[in-house]
Subunit: 108 residues, 2 copies
Amino acid sequence: RVDEEGVRKAVDSQSVVMFTKSACSYCVKAKNLLNEQKVDYKEIDFDALKQQNPNEHQGLVNGLVYMTKITGVPQIFICGKFIGGFTELSELHEAKTLLEKISECTKE
Amino acid sequence: RVDEEGVRKAVDSQSVVMFTKSACSYCVKAKNLLNEQKVDYKEIDFDALKQQNPNEHQGLVNGLVYMTKITGVPQIFICGKFIGGFTELSELHEAKTLLEKISECTKE
Ligand SMILES: N[C@@H](CCC(=O)N[C@@H](CS)C(=O)NCC(=O)O)C(=O)O
Ligand SMILES: N[C@@H](CCC(=O)N[C@@H](CS)C(=O)NCC(=O)O)C(=O)O
Ligand code: FES
């Protein structure tokens, strides 16, 4: 099944949402970057989810691929918009536009 | 089973040998680095091997972990010696000692 609604709900629930797998160094680097910038984020680890809730897992995986057309991890959403993986996240950071993008939907 | 002999045979067969998984960006970066340096290497992709030869696959995986005490990928050997993953490989490259190490067992 394709749980597009579940993905939408997740990516709208917080200013930064990241889909990961537990053993992926690119996912670790993405998280480290956000931690260094003191940015809060929600992480959805597909490997952990597969263990805890296999039914929900497959629907979210399919929903995510349906929405972004990408099968890899990490997949990062800022303010509900898909921005890419670790490469794109670090490009935003290099361009000094990362915090700006996040602030657009973060209430102070 | 633990096919330590199979791993030893593989890592002694060429000056640079890398154990990878097919969908890992760190493995891709390690290969790109070697390609840019025009370094020949043997790649053993555990995901491909699992499909082609599941028996050999498990023995090699167990043998590798037995030898290096590390479960991750990539795992890189130069002149039969385990040097680490992508992080260690790029450190050798930064220190300008990578090609030197490789030449120690490469006949000209
Ligand atoms: N350029 C992307 C790379 C994404 C990628 O290739 N991810 C790998 C793991 S590091 C993956 O999940 N590959 C499997 C696939 O693409 O289906 C990024 O910077 O995050
Ligand atoms: N520092 C290592 C990282 C190795 C690593 O964490 N690899 C990940 C994939 S990118 C992995 O295989 N994790 C599973 C495990 O460690 O068992 C490197 O630079 O290669
Ligand atoms: S799995 Fe190795 S970097 Fe993502």
